[in-house]
Symmetry: C2
Subunit: 230 residues, 2 copies
């Protein structure tokens, strides 16, 4: 048997692996047992060769001439992305966006559970969202300690995002997803990912304007699922 060698995996690849896993979940219901790279790539919106390279980071996963075993690949991807164990997350700022996230059922199927909801507004504290009670932000450290949450999601106003971030980090959270439109500063060893919806719209507006203007199109990047497919 070949030993599993944990090669170095590019972060861009990791993001796509998550997409492949989701596509596979939808494909498993079809009664099929195998998929080809071309089929998977089409469903995921990527290049077939790139998909194969992505999967090759996990070592050989497929069978030549046949394709990839759907169930086998699901297991492999699931393990690579952190296993099936439930990952506790805390969410700070239960406003419009925070409520939508807390109430979303799509995360649980991936193993993410919002076990701690925190807000500073007394009117929000005490209510329940998605079956989880909202607790006062003062209890942040206690909640993180109790739940052993490793991921923190910030949906507070921008002004307080950095302070919330600092408290999360101090409490032991080492992965943060930030929706507030500020660049968070964190110590080394802490990962931050930012979701900036205004920027997304602004980029679309730029592309729109540029399209109407001069032919010199923007250098297309590989991020996202840009057009081109017929």
């Amino acid at each position: 048997m070949s030993q599993s060698r944990p090669r170095i995996v590019p972060e861009a690849t990791v993001a796509r692996l998550a997409v492949y896993l989701r596509v596979l979940a939808g494909l498993a219901d079809g009664g099929r047992s195998h998929v080809s790279s071309g089929e998977l790539a089409s469903a995921a919106g990527v290049n077939p060769a790139g998909l194969r390279k992505d999967l090759s980071y996990l070592g050989p996963c497929g069978v030549r001439g046949v394709g990839y075993s759907i169930s086998g690949l699901r297991e492999r991807l699931t393990e690579a992305l952190g296993g099936e164990r439930s990952r506790p997350c805390v969410l700070v700022g239960i406003g419009r966006l925070g409520s939508a996230l807390a109430d979303y059922t799509g995360f649980a199927s991936r193993g993410f559970q919002f076990v701690g909801l925190l807000d500073s507004d007394p009117r929000t504290v005490g209510t329940e969202v998605g079956g989880v009670p909202v607790r006062p932000v003062e209890e942040l450290e206690a909640v993180v300690a109790d739940t052993q949450a490793s991921i923190g999601v910030i949906t507070t106003p921008a002004e307080v995002a950095q302070s919330v971030c600092d408290r999360l980090v101090t409490a032991g959270v080492r992965s943060i997803l930030n929706f507030a439109p500020v660049a968070l500063t964190v110590p080394a060893g802490v990962d931050v990912r930012k979701v900036d919806l205004s920027v997304e719209l602004q980029v679309l507006a730029f592309l729109d304007q540029q399209r109407d203007g001069s032919p010199p199109v923007v250098a297309s990047m590989r991020t996202g699922v840009s057009g081109g497919a017929r």
Copy 2:
């Protein structure tokens, strides 16, 4: 005078320009008149040299030895990103996430206005979100035509996202922001940007797991505002 030469701007740069613009907006209130690249870069969470390179795509914007004029740079960035004119957007799928977006005031300040809200649920149709009435999805084409919307945002369940997308494109929308976890297929000339929150969490989980495990760290990418700052 030097003619404005619309150089080719990398898409990654465009995204950062939007961030700079927002930072400048917050900085303009401070009464300052000029900023250095180092200061701006720090506030935006990027490298100073990279920031200067980004700005240089717009031609010389600063004054050597002094820095960048805040008001001047704001104008330049605003123009580069599509001008100040209000951009009409339509939003399809007024559920939890869609409502949060429609009700968010942060987009209007950037010129984005949700002038059309569409949903298929009779209980949602007729209600108002953010002062805009929700209309039946059957009127999608009419709404796009009336409002001349150039940007469409999809927050429907994944199963119907592609059909909604097709209708938006047929109606004339050429820029789409997709929150549904599917890869949309669009004709050439249409831009799609995807926001996939499950993937964001999954990547964080992966990094988390890898950090606890072996030293071979993932090849860090430039996307997002990853850690490292002191």
